[in-house]
C-alpha cells in the first residue's frame, strides 16, 4: 500500500497542484480544507505524513498539530509564511517535525517527506537494547523506556535519540544532526535540532530543566550520556 499523505491547505488551487505533484511521486494524497476537516479525516484514517499550512481559517495549523500529537507520532511538515518568525519555533514546539516556507518547490517537499519516513538508524546490528542510566532504548522495536515506563516519542525524536545514542559521549554538531536526522546539508535550520532536543528532554529527562542525558556542549552541539 502506498504512502498516504494528508495535506491541510485552504487554497484549493494550491491543494490541487500540490496533490498532483505528490501523486507523481507515487503517493496517495488526501486533502483537507480546514483544521476541523483535517482532524476528522485523521481520526477516521490516520495517514503516514501530514502537511499543514499554519495559516488556516478556524482551527489554525498549530492547534491541528497539537491535537494530532496527542494521539500520534505521525511525521508532520508544516508550511509557514516566513523562516525568521516565531512561527517556526512555535510550530516545532506544537509538534511539527520539519517546516517549509511558502512558496516551496514540490521537489523539496518530497525530499522532506522521504527524509522523515526513513527508519531510525541502527547503531549496531548486534545491539538490541542500549542503556543509559535509567534510560533504555530498543532501536528495532522503536521503544524507549525510562525506569521501565515506555515513553511516547515521535519518529523524529526517536531518530534523534538513536543518532545521539550511536556514539554515547560524542559531541554531535547541529549540522551533523541536521544531516543525519533530517537530511539537510550544512545550511539546515539549527532551530530544528534545538527545539527537538528540547522536546526530547521533556520526555526522557526526569528534570528537563537540568538535563542529565542529553547535554548541551556550548558552541559545539549535543551529546548523550548515561
Amino acid at each position: 500500500m502506498s504512502t498516504r499523505i494528508l495535506t491541510v491547505e485552504d487554497d484549493e488551487r494550491i491543494r490541487t497542484a500540490v496533490r498532483m505533484a505528490l501523486e507523481d511521486e507515487g503517493w496517495t494524497v488526501e486533502e483537507a480544507e480546514t483544521g476541523e476537516a483535517a482532524l476528522e479525516a485523521f481520526k477516521r484514517n490516520p495517514s503516514d505524513v501530514v502537511l499543514i499550512d499554519i495559516m488556516l481559517p478556524g482551527v489554525d495549523g498549530f492547534e491541528v498539530c497539537r491535537s494530532m500529537r496527542k494521539t500520534s507520532d505521525v511525521p508532520i511538515v508544516m508550511v509557514t509564511a516566513r523562516a525568521d518568525t516565531h512561527d517556526v519555533v512555535a510550530g516545532l514546539e506544537a509538534g511539527a517535525d520539519d517546516y517549509l516556507t511558502k512558496p516551496f518547490a514540490p521537489k523539496e517537499l518530497s525530499a522532506r517527506i522521504r527524509a522523515l519516513m526513513r527508519r531510525a538508524r541502527k547503531p549496531d546490528a548486534t545491539t538490541t537494547t542500549m542503556r543509559f542510566g535509567d534510560l533504555e532504548i530498543i532501536p528495532d522495536a522503536g521503544v524507549v523506556r525510562r525506569s521501565g515506563t515506555e515513553l511516547h516519542l515521535t519518529k523524529t525524536e526517536f531518530r534523534l535519540l538513536c543518532e545521539l545514542a550511536s556514539s554515547p559521549g560524542r559531541v554531535f554538531s547541529r549540522e551533523v544532526l541536521l544531516e543525519r536526522v533530517w537530511g539537510y546539508g550544512y545550511f539546515g535550520d539549527g532551530r530544528l535540532v534545538d527545539v527537538h532536543v528540547r522536546r526530547l528532554r521533556t520526555k526522557i529527562e526526569a528534570d528537563p530543566a537540568n538535563p542529565r542525558h542529553v547535554a548541551t556542549v556550548r558552541g559545539l552541539g549535543y551529546k548523550l550520556q548515561g
Binding site: A17, M20, P103, F187
Partner: protein, 473 residues
Amino acid sequence: MLTRLRAWLGRVRPRSLGLRARVTLSFALGALFLSIVLAGTTFALTRANLLNQRESTSLSRVYVNASVVKNQLPDLNPTDVQDVLLPSLQVPNGARPVLHFAGRWFSLTAQIGENSIPAALRDTVDSGRPARMMFDLQGKPALAVGIPLPSAGAQYFELVELDDLQSTLESLGFSLLGASALTTLGGAALGSWASRRALRPLADVSQAAKAIAGGRLDTRLETTDDRDLGVLSSSFNDMAQALQERIERDARFASDVSHELRSPLMTLSAAIDVLEARRDELGERSQAAVDLLSMEVDRFRQLVEDLLEMSRYDAGAVRLELDDIRLAEFVMQAVKVSANGSRVPVDLDSELAGAVVQADKRRLARVVANLLDNARKYGDGATSVVLQRVDDRVQIAIEDEGPGVPEEERHLIFERFARGGVAGRRGSTEGVGLGLALVAEHVRLHGGRVWVEDRADGRPGARFVVELPVLSQ
C-alpha cells in the same frame, strides 16, 4: 533705490553669523542704544537741574547783595566802596562781585574787572534791564549776573564760577558711560542666554529629526505645557507620525503584495513540476515552453522572496538568528552550495582556520550566494574567493574576470533594482537587481561593510569585499 538699500543691508547684515550670535548682537546693540539714550537724558536733565539750582540760588543772593549795595552806596566814598562795601558782601567761594559805579569798576581782585564781564551782558544792563548769561571765564564755565541800580547810579555784577559743577557733571558722565558699557555687556549676556534657552527646543527637534532620518521612525518629541513650544512639538510629532504611517504603509504594501503573490506562485510551482515530470510526453515546442515557464517561475520565486526580505528590512522587522560560525568552514560550504556546479577555488589565510564570527547562517549564506550569482551574471563567474584577516576583522573577497565596475557606479550597484550600466552593456537580462541591495542590508545588520573594488592583481574584473567583525580566534 530700495533694491540698492536692500542689497547694501544684505551685505552689511552679518549673515555668516549664527542665529545665536545674531540674537546676542541684537540684544547688545539694543542695550547699548537704550543705555545711551537713558544716560544722555539723565545727563542733560541733571545738568539742567544743577544749573537751574545754582542759578536760582545765585540770583537770589545777587539781588540781596545788589540791594545792600544800593542802600549803602550813597553814603560811601569811592575808597570805602573798594575796601569796605565789597568785602562786606555775602559771596561764597568762586563768586566775584564787580561794581560799576561812577564810571569806575570795583572788584576784589585785580584780574577781575570790566573786561571779565561779557560785553553783551554789559550792554543789556546798560540799557537798564537785569540780565544773566553763561560764559567762559578764563577758560572755565561761569555764570554772570548783572543788575542795574539806577537809583544809586551803579550796576552790580556777580561772576559765579561753575567749575565745581563741571567736575560733578564730568564724573556723572563717566559713571553713566560706565553704566552704559555694563548694560551693553549685560544685554549681550542676556541675549546669549536667552538665545541658548530659546534654541534648546530646536536642538531637541534637530536630534529627533536626525533619529528619524536614521530610521528610528517612532521617535517623538516630548509634549510640553509651553504654549509656543507646544505648537512646534505637536506639529513636529504630527509630521513624524504622518511620515511613519506613510513609510509603514508603503512597506506594508510591498509586503502584502509579496504575500499575495506567494499563493499563486505556490500553485504555479507545483503545477510546473507536474508538467516537467511529463516533459518527455510533450512536443518540442511545448518542452521549450515548459522550460521557459520553469525558469521564469524560479526567477519569480526568488524575486518574491527578496522583496519579502527587503520589506522586512523596511519595516525594521529583521531579527538575526545569530550563531557562532567557523568562518572558513562556512564559506567553503556556502561556495560549494551556491557555485551552481562550477568549482570556485577558496583561498584561505592560514590564520583564519579558527576564526569565529557571529552571524545569521541563512542570511550570510545568501550574501555569499548573491555575490557568486552576481559574478556569474555580470562577470563570467567568480574566479576565486579569498578569505583574509585584517586586524580584528575578516574579509571575504569574491573576484571575477568580467569588465569590472566603473568607479562612478560602485556606490550605486548596492541600490535596489540598480542594475549597473555594465550589466546593461553586457546585455544580461537575468537577475532582479535586489541581490546586491540585500547583500548590503545583510552585511550592515551583521555590523560589517561591503564594497566593490578593482581586482587585487590589477587584471580586469571586479572584487567584491565583505568585511565582518571577528568574534574570536
